[in-house]
Symmetry: C3
Subunit: 345 residues, 3 copies
């Protein structure tokens, strides 16, 4: 895709300074700009690059004043950062504007595909599944029996969705994610082996949920594992059976939640955090990366860290002394010596 300065200026209600016909085909940082790319200047820290950048077009604030000669074409806008963000979205949408059903897709005769949806080559859509309007199902995706996918949802290559799961509107699921595999449930038997507990529930993703690459969300034993609207999950996260994640909660990569745990709304969870099973977390709690959460947290907006986790500031204080433990031991030994001397008196 190529865009001229004119097209971009029109899109952003901006004013061109330079070559109206300058064309760009991708976006770059101003300090890494190359010919044929478009950049922006918002942060004064990057001001110096405007004079040396090789970007073909740069978006600047309308009140920007140059000290030296500028070799690139400028587009002046109300707010350069917002304009660039708008452009990012536009560019992304243009690139991904696919529709239609590829003839190499495998679609059950009674599956329903909504208007203007895309189904890529070698995707599999099973019996009674339905795909909403304008949703995109990329190659190698597996949509199990009876799965419902909402409208405007993007499911990237290789995602696997087991039967009976429900995916909302405006969701994004990245490559390799697995939605609805069996929860990890086994009943110990007398012979020290285990009998599988069948997992017959499902997974529900409400609207506006994003799920990262290779993340796994297990189906409930009975009932549903639920990701509430607006929640964002990064890559390689494990969500066990019957977990519930609250609205607009954000979870960084490689975190794991054990079975039946309920996370509140607007929580922020760092990477590699581990939650025990059957616990309940209040709204707005923040978790430092790698924390281990053994039990309920009832205080809203609490901030925790540690293994097991407790209050963040207190953990940091204790850890300062942990690092000084050899000194503390010396101080204790010294005291013991002195006491002995005093006692000897």
């Amino acid at each position: 895709m190529e865009f001229t300065a004119k097209v971009i200026a029109d899109l952003l209600s901006g004013k061109i300074e330079g070559d109206k016909n300058a064309t760009v085909s991708s976006l770059s940082k101003i300090e890494e700009g190359t010919e044929g790319t478009l950049s922006f200047l918002a942060n004064p820290k990057y001001l110096k690059y405007i004079y040396t950048t090789k970007s073909t077009i740069v978006i600047v604030n309308k009140d920007f004043k140059a000290d030296k000669k500028i070799h690139t074409t400028l587009i002046r806008v109300e707010n350069a950062y917002d304009a660039f963000a708008k452009l990012l979205n536009y560019y992304k949408q243009q690139k991904e504007d696919k529709t239609g059903i590829d003839k190499q897709a495998s679609i059950a005769f009674d599956a329903i595909i909504g208007a203007d949806a895309y189904v890529g080559p070698l995707a599999v859509i099973c019996e009674k599944a339905s795909i909403g309007k304008k949703s995109k199902i990329y190659p190698h995706v597996f949509i199990g029996e009876n799965v419902e996918v909402g409208e405007n949802t993007i499911i990237y290559p290789g995602v696997k969705i087991y039967p009976d799961c429900i995916i909302g509107n405006n969701c994004i699921i990245h490559a390799g994610a697995v939605i609805g595999a069996d929860g990890f449930g086994f009943a110990p038997q007398q012979a020290s082996d285990y009998a599988k507990v069948p997992q017959v529930g499902n997974v529900i993703l409400e609207d506006n949920v994003e799920v990262g690459a290779n993340t796994t969300i297990d189906r409930a034993t009975l009932g549903s594992t639920i990701i509430r609207k607006g929640a964002k999950l990064d890559n390689l996260i494990q969500v066990a059976h019957n977990v519930e994640i609250g609205e607009n909660t954000v979870i960084a990569a490689q975190t794991g939640l054990s079975g039946s745990t309920k996370l509140g709304k607007n929580c922020m969870v760092g990477g590699q955090v581990g939650f025990a099973g059957h616990i309940k977390i209040a709204d707005g709690v923040k978790f430092a990366a790698q924390s281990g959460i053994p039990s309920d947290i009832k205080k809203e907006n609490e901030v925790v860290m540690g293994y097991p986790a407790f209050n963040y500031t207190k953990y940091q204080k204790s850890y300062v002394y942990f690092r000084k433990l050899p000194d503390l031991v010396n101080r204790i030994s010294e005291l013991e010596k002195k006491i002995k001397e005093l006692e000897g008196n």
Copy 2:
């Protein structure tokens, strides 16, 4: 699938109280019951829901006595919990009772597919591979050259099995798991770069093993990485080359085992645990989540926690004092002050 109360009562040798022709198509918790679902009541804690549930059928113990009017159809059985578990299994099997080879599967001319097996669309089965009787190979599964899959084994969508691996009978491998990728072996070279050490061994899964979604089990450098019979692995677990996991050992999600480590029988491993390489763990050892295991554990049935891990109870005690370190430091400072005063005397 729909089932009438009559069909279910016959299956469970139960007695119907209410509408023989009541029909259900799925299962639910009694407190979340909706029309057309079947629930059970075993735990007295849930007794109150029997009067309000919207489930169409509820399974109860034969000696259950109602205090108030009940609106749902009951099926009385010897043991409601066991009966429900039996039903779960039956339901799950009915749903997954697929056989036959899809015409969109890609199967090498010299691969062997057993009787009553299922091979889904877009699965790939390579040269000289064999699939046992009644096994199920879902869409997008890759079965490499010379792989042997036993009988009655289920391999869910998108699983990748590299050449020469051996999968036992009655195994379950969930979506996205990778069996037999190269172990991580590199020989440092003089130029500070690395030469790859070829990994020519394989992976063996014995009978009744379950492997979770997106779990990775690497092939041995030479010989085999072995998962012994009855072992259960959750999602996103890493098993490195030449590891051996003992019979009926259960491992929670996101745990990692480094190369050549041997885990005993009947161990229980929490989530996100990390094992160093080349270590040996006795039978029956339990590991708290997020523990780091640096060396052999020789004592059977030991329980450990920590980073690095040691005895669980001792870790908990030390951690209590870790949390109180600022207090302890105050106590030491106070002692120093008093000693100084005493010395001043």
Copy 3:
């Protein structure tokens, strides 16, 4: 594949002692040797097995002297270990020597496939993508629009590469890895929900990079996430947007790197390590498994451990005292008692 002792001896410039026509079809450890396999003896620790092994052929050093009768065919070489390593490579290459484009692959009309490349069944190669000479694209791989794959690179089954990413020469990417999914970027909105920040950069893998199974490497927000030449990444690793990993740095499984972090050259990172975002690590730093890295490390070749991490030796010392904290508390209590006694005097 079968090889005779004669073929192997010629390949290794070795001398046969025994049956020239002995044939083997795979490789084994000497202590686990079975008929039809070839082993080697280099480490004197394994000497005793030469007399009992069931391997059909054993490679030994040319100066090896037997004390007892040997039943297997020997091949004497200059250096048994090096010869075996050479054989491993030869064997691996023979096994994987595939070329040609499978008729069940889905390839865009304007994609470019180099000479002697392999594209397996059900692989998808999108518009304007290019695959270099002798590279191998296994089944179920997805190569997005505009992706460039270099020469001699192996991409195993089910790998997903998003549009615009660049993969170098002689790379190996294992099954299920996801290259170029969106970075985890969201801008908080007034209604406590989040707006997605489009991720329009890409991922660059330089030459000789190896990426493990189910590892995820996110595309940059703008610019590139870069894995420098010779870096080796194990399984289930998370690499966030705009990260840069230095030349010949080696990272063990399940480690995670947060956004914009830069790792130096020749670092060695243990398993399950977590790096905060926007930090910079010097060359040659070593990280103990499960460490948490909160900030820059400026000292080259430093060795760290801990949560958060600091110097490895210091961590170990502090941890010794952590384990003894209950004792230390007793010592403090004892001192307090004695002081009280002394003060009482």
